[in-house]
């Protein structure tokens, strides 16, 4: 950790302007012969790298921790309503891969009621130990008891890394527990790797733009991250279970909550684009009524679903449930065709692990073409009706 220092003696009228322009956040200003950095600074340190010594970054010593006291890669097992959410299994597979680097064990933490069966099932997915907090206090998700059990586990077992599925439950629980540990949490990681010194490398899109950030938490343990469903692959189920189940004590103090759950209802069967094998995705370049109707038609011909980008949801053209991207759903279909979508990183993060990506856009420099497997530079309004016509003809043959 450290701070930015301006060497005012090197500042002059001729270099000041170029230095203020270095800052992508407009945080550097030049007044009365001196440079200053405002609270808009995001500490990206670009000014320190590019200003030729005018702005420098000074490291400050960080209190070291003994990382060897923290062992194990933990997967939080999301088991709402007695069902193991598949993101849990995907994370077990990833945890096993990460554990190969450090030789750490892989743990799962299960908090719920009557959870014996789910705990056993997890032993088919390469987990060394499943720790279970089983009590009727955990029947419904309430933040305080879940966070208390989670924190109790961390205090007793001291895992080095914690992987939490970015379900709606995981997205409340992980930050609550991470803050209690005064530790780092990275949301929506798309890549995870392990260093030999047990630092977890977390990669995610950042700064709200077309940039990836590689993030570590070098001075705190445990290191928390959340990962969305369908980012990693589900490992195959082993033919025999292995590992052991450890029952953890549930104390009265853990059960306390200011929240009372009155009624739980299943959501009506929802549009769920994350389960679709084929997706026809529509962006601003294809938002006319005619093109949206054609997109629907193509989707139904291919047995798929229509999805969209954020601007179309903001213009009320689509239900938010159909939105792909960081603020929408993550999808991983076998085939996705992106119509008139520029491909901002927010969108790309939600679909780029799709097996086959086709992009149709009239702007050949659109970033979508950086991730597409098949790039079609052209007018959606010209190409889409022809695809539909061809498919109809092919189906009739």
């Amino acid at each position: 950790m450290g701070k930015l220092v301006i060497n005012q003696s090197l500042v002059n009228a001729s270099n000041a302007e170029s230095i203020t322009k270095l800052c992508p956040f407009g945080a550097i200003s030049y007044e009365n012969g001196a440079l200053s950095i405002s609270a808009a600074c995001k500490m990206c340190k670009l000014c320190a790298k590019k200003s030729g010594g005018v702005v420098t970054y000074e490291e400050e010593a960080v209190a070291e921790i003994d990382k060897s006291l923290w062992r194990g890669i933990l997967v939080y097992a999301d088991c709402q309503g007695g069902t193991i959410h598949k993101v849990t299994l995907e994370l077990c597979g990833k945890a096993r891969e990460l554990a190969k680097v450090t030789g750490h064990p892989v743990y799962a933490l299960l908090i719920g009621e009557n959870a014996a069966e789910q705990a056993k099932e997890l032993l088919y997915y390469g987990v060394d130990k499943v720790f279970v907090y089983d009590d009727e206090a955990f029947r419904d998700f309430r933040i305080e008891p879940y966070a208390a059990a989670f924190y109790d586990f961390i205090e007793k077992i001291k895992p080095s890394s914690i992987l939490v599925g970015a379900t709606e439950l995981g997205r409340q629980l992980a930050p609550r527990v991470a803050a209690r540990c005064r530790s780092g949490l990275t949301a929506d990681c798309t890549v995870l790797e392990m260093k030999e010194n047990t630092d977890l490398i977390q990669i995610r899109p950042a700064f709200g733009g077309n940039i990836m950030a590689q993030i570590i938490s070098p001075a705190t343990r445990p290191q928390f991250c959340t990962v969305r469903y369908k980012i990693f692959n589900e490992p195959p189920r082993a033919s025999e279970p292995s590992g052991e189940i450890v029952r953890m004590e549930v104390t009265e103090k853990m059960k306390k909550s200011e929240i009372e759950v009155l009624e739980t209802n299943k959501k009506q069967t929802d549009v769920d684009i994350s389960e679709a094998d084929v997706i026809v995705a529509v962006g601003r370049g294809a938002q006319t009524e005619a093109l949206r109707a054609q997109a629907e038609e193509l989707a139904s011909l291919l047995g798929g679903m229509v999805a969209c980008t954020r601007p179309l949801v903001e213009s009320n053209l689509f239900d938010p449930k159909r939105q792909i991207g960081l603020s929408g759903r993550t999808v991983k279909p076998k085939f996705i065709i992106c119509l008139g979508i520029s491909g901002a990183v927010q969108f790309a993060a939600g679909m780029k692990s799709s097996a086959c990506i086709v992009a149709v856009n009239n702007d050949s420099s659109a970033p979508i073409f950086d991730i597409a497997h098949y790039c079609v530079v052209g007018d959606v309004a010209e190409i889409l009706p022809r695809i539909i016509k061809n498919i109809k003809e092919a189906k009739n043959v």
């Binding site: 992508p24 945080a27 950095i37 405002s38 609270a39 808009a40 600074c41 990206c44 590019k50 400050e60 709402q80 309503g81 309430r142 933040i143 709606e168 997205r171 409340q172 930050p175 991470a178 803050a179 530790s183 780092g184 949490l185 949301a187 490398i201 950042a206 700064f207 709200g208 733009g209 077309n210 940039i211 990836m212 950030a213 590689q214 993030i215 705190t220 759950v261 009624e263 959501k267 084929v278 011909l301 291919l302 903001e314 603020s327 085939f335 065709i337 927010q346 086959c356 073409f369 497997h373 790039c375 079609v376 530079v377 010209e382 190409i383 022809r386 695809i387 498919i391 092919a394 189906k395």
Partner: protein, 262 residues
Amino acid sequence: MKILVCIKQVPGSSNVQVDPVTGVLIRSGIQNKMNPYDLYGIEVALTLKERYGGEVELITMGPPPAKAVILEAVAMGADRGTVLSDRKFAGADVLATAYTISQGIKKCGEYDLIICGKQTTDGDTAQVGAEVAEYLGLPNISNVCSVDEVKDGRLYVTAALDNKTVKESVSLPCLISVDGDINTPRLPSYKVKRSLTDDVVSFLSFADFSDQDPNHYGLNGSATQVERIFPPEKNTEKHTVSGNADEQAAELCALISKLKLI
């Protein structure tokens, strides 16, 4: 009821690119706006104020121009707000941001209800609300999709939780994060906007906080560290479908049939 809404000023566009030669971030024509998800939180607060009386305050963290979002919310009907602004807060991750906001809230006063939006459009982490609740020791409920009533010191809400909706009650004080699209946020009043004076905005800096350890704020207070930033990987197995629209459509159909989608 005394309600506090946490809001944020975000870049108007997410159009950020990396200059391939210099590696410098290019953010062309930045215009800032209120984080759109916060508008729903403000609307919830104003509706509760109309129904039960009380006051609606705002808190934000950012450079001094971030007071624009406070003024906008006041023009919508809120009473006043505070900007937490200090260079010492720069480079804060989720942990340090939540800590700074919680320190600011403690300084501002006591509230029955703290409301956050679902997430911001620039960070997209949706984590700060839950961490603020932890630092303040308050119960929190996320993904609130309707605020039903306040009765006997408890707030009754309906929240989404993955494949379920949950009706629940929570004792006040508490913190809730509200989903997008749960209401139609009112527009700022032009009349109020015209008569706005700067005294509806106050500023707090590091020097005002009770915790005077600079290592709890900004980059130094952040547990996560950005090791490097880089442009997203480009796909190398890329195939260009060329020709006129007829030829392009034909090639895509061949692909679709090769993949056995029809």
